[in-house]
């Protein structure tokens, strides 16, 4: 099986996000960069499919030079090779441009199944997987918590509000990974050593023939609205405090 896993490098979820004073972006100083948490599930599932069905796993990432670390992490987990789409013209690419570049890179290699994360925890767009599927003209199953591959088709479990769906799709298709799909492995020390020698192909926008013209423009970044200081209900008596809280929720907040 030819398996592709898309990986985005994002700020660690521990990171405090500070908006630059002019609202043009976030201040990246001191940020630790890691593989997007949902992409870890995608890479893990790719490796498990390879272990079961044979084949190889290609990691594709678009991002600045530092993104190579995220590719290496996936290679250290066991993936075979990488494609790094690296071009200053693509810095801050929106979902459409990103999906176009990923599609162009993936078109150049054989693929049976493509994994993405269900969303990237930086932009929280949750779009690239579906757009990639569209641009490649193949089906998608998004937000998947369980996957079974049987020959030329897959069955995937997808939670929606109030139900779990079991969806069947032919291959090739795009699967976007949700927590629950598996428990991602850690890279072993020998894995890390081997990863250094695995091939990573670097491509720019021109080589891929993609336009960097954005469809979505960010006007400004703003910090979240400040919350007014809260009220601590004090006293020793839990009963009295509970009663006071219910009063406040009823009369002041009017939410119950």
């Amino acid at each position: 099986m030819n398996i592709v896993a898309c990986v985005k490098q994002v700020p660690d979820t521990e990171a405090q996000i500070r908006v630059k004073p002019d609202g043009s972006g976030i201040d990246e100083t001191g940020i630790k960069w890691v593989m997007n948490a949902y992409d870890e599930y995608g890479v893990e599932e790719a490796l498990r499919l390879k272990e079961k069905h044979g084949g190889d796993v290609t990691i594709v990432s678009l991002g600045p030079a530092r993104s190579l670390e995220a590719i290496r992490t996936a290679l250290a987990m066991g993936a075979d090779k990488g494609i790094h789409i690296c071009d200053p013209a693509l810095d801050g690419a929106d979902a459409y441009v990103t999906a176009s570049a990923l599609a162009a890179a993936i078109k150049g290699i054989p693929f049976d199944v493509i994994f993405c994360g269900q969303r990237a925890v930086d932009d929280d767009a949750g779009q690239v997987g579906a757009m990639l599927a569209e641009l490649l003209g193949i089906p998608q199953v998004t937000v998947v918590t369980k996957l079974e591959v049987n020959g030329a088709s897959i069955r995937a479990t997808k939670p929606v509000e109030g139900a779990q769906l079991l969806i069947e799709s032919p291959l090739p298709c795009v699967i976007t990974a949700q927590k629950g799909l598996n428990e991602p492995r850690y890279a072993s020390l020998p894995g890390i050593m081997k990863a250094k020698k695995k091939p990573v192909d670097v491509k720019n926008a021109q080589a891929l023939g993609v336009s960097a013209e954005a469809k979505l423009k960010v006007l400004k970044f703003v910090p979240p609205p400040a919350r007014p200081p809260g009220k601590i209900i004090s006293g020793d008596d839990a009963v009295a405090k509970a009663s006071q809280l219910v009063g406040l929720l009823r009369q002041e907040a009017k939410v119950i």
Partner: protein
């Protein structure tokens, strides 16, 4: 020229979903500012009866495709139908719910229409004749204002944020042929397993009672369930509780779980790690019950009680029972 504000309505089992009415409310406001009409697309099988309901929420025209292949929802069939009707009518703005279905469909369509889509917006407004969408990123650690540079300008709206308002108007129903080509319908739903809890999904709940490691085990949640029953609330959890296996995955609130904005979020025995706060700090009111007065959750709480939750929560339930019966 692209014109009109459109929504893609959602129905489930022949009933309009609440998000559809919220979309209509948001669309009406945008359309009034632009001096244009609101149209809705409604897809499914045996749904013509509910199409008229959308009119009550401010929709002028309802495009209905009633076709067995549109039920249950699949990306392939719905994307084809919406694409066709959008191409024929060229709307300026196209809104979806940021629900499981709306997110899946909107992203596929944004790819097909080669346009900009703003996901999970908490505000939409008009500036210089275009829609400016406001949305949280980093699960709410920061917000951005975005504008689509192509038409239709697409956005998905977060459930529970936009008010639905009833008007006296009745919309016009326009039937259309979704023009489905069986060869393009590649995926199918082979099984639907319904959740029998009877509670709203976290993303759609107006009250959430959430518990963390302080609940001490799965049995601890019984007192939260009791409170939730009274308040008609949904029970949530921190990742610590989910990873310990005390609660199902679907219950996790936070940056790598569900990002929620209920009217009321009651956090019990949750410390308030940055990833948790990110996922719930856009709630309208936040209550924290925690025995540690230094817990970071108190920095976001509107009302806090520093005490043992096993003493406080049952008392809250008693007080609520007095009030709500």
């Amino acid at each position: 020229m692209a014109q009109g504000v459109w929504i893609v309505a959602e129905q489930r089992d022949g009933a309009l979903r609440k998000i559809s009415c919220e979309l209509a409310g948001a669309a009406r406001k945008l359309a009034d500012q632009l001096g244009t009409e609101v149209s809705a697309v409604l897809l499914g099988s045996g749904i013509e009866g509910i199409a008229g309901e959308l009119g009550k929420y401010g929709v002028d025209k309802i495009y209905v495709a009633d076709n067995a292949a549109l039920e249950p929802y699949t990306t392939d069939a719905h994307a084809a139908a919406v694409f066709k009707v959008v191409k024929e009518n060229d709307p300026a703005i196209l809104l979806f719910g940021a629900s499981a279905q709306g997110k899946d469909l909107s992203a596929r369509l944004a790819g097909r229409l080669a346009t900009g889509l703003a996901t999970d917006c908490t505000e939409v407004k008009i500036a210089d004749g275009k829609m400016v969408a406001v949305r949280p990123i980093y699960a709410g650690k920061c917000f951005i204002e975005v504008v689509s540079l192509a038409n239709p300008q697409m956005a998905s709206l977060r459930p529970n944020v936009f008010p639905a308002t009833e008007t006296a108007k009745a919309g016009t129903i326009v039937k259309f042929d979704p023009g489905l080509d069986a060869a393009q319908l590649k995926t199918k739903v082979v099984e639907v397993q319904k959740d029998t809890s009877g509670r709203a999904d976290l993303t759609e709940a107006s009250i959430i009672v959430s518990g963390g490691r302080g609940m001490q085990g799965p049995e601890g949640y019984k007192i939260l369930e009791e409170l939730a029953d009274l308040l008609n609330a949904t029970v949530g959890a921190s990742r610590a509780a989910v990873d310990a296996g005390w609660r199902p995955l679907a219950d996790q609130v936070g940056q790598t779980g569900k990002v929620v904005s209920p009217n009321l979020y009651i956090a019990c025995g949750i410390s308030g790690a940055i990833q948790h706060l990110a996922g719930m700090s856009s709630s309208k009111y936040i209550v924290a019950v925690n025995k540690d007065s230094e817990a970071p959750i108190f920095t976001k709480a509107d009302f806090g009680i520093v005490d043992d939750l096993f003493k406080v929560v049952p008392e809250l339930t008693k007080e609520c029972r007095k009030l709500l019966g």
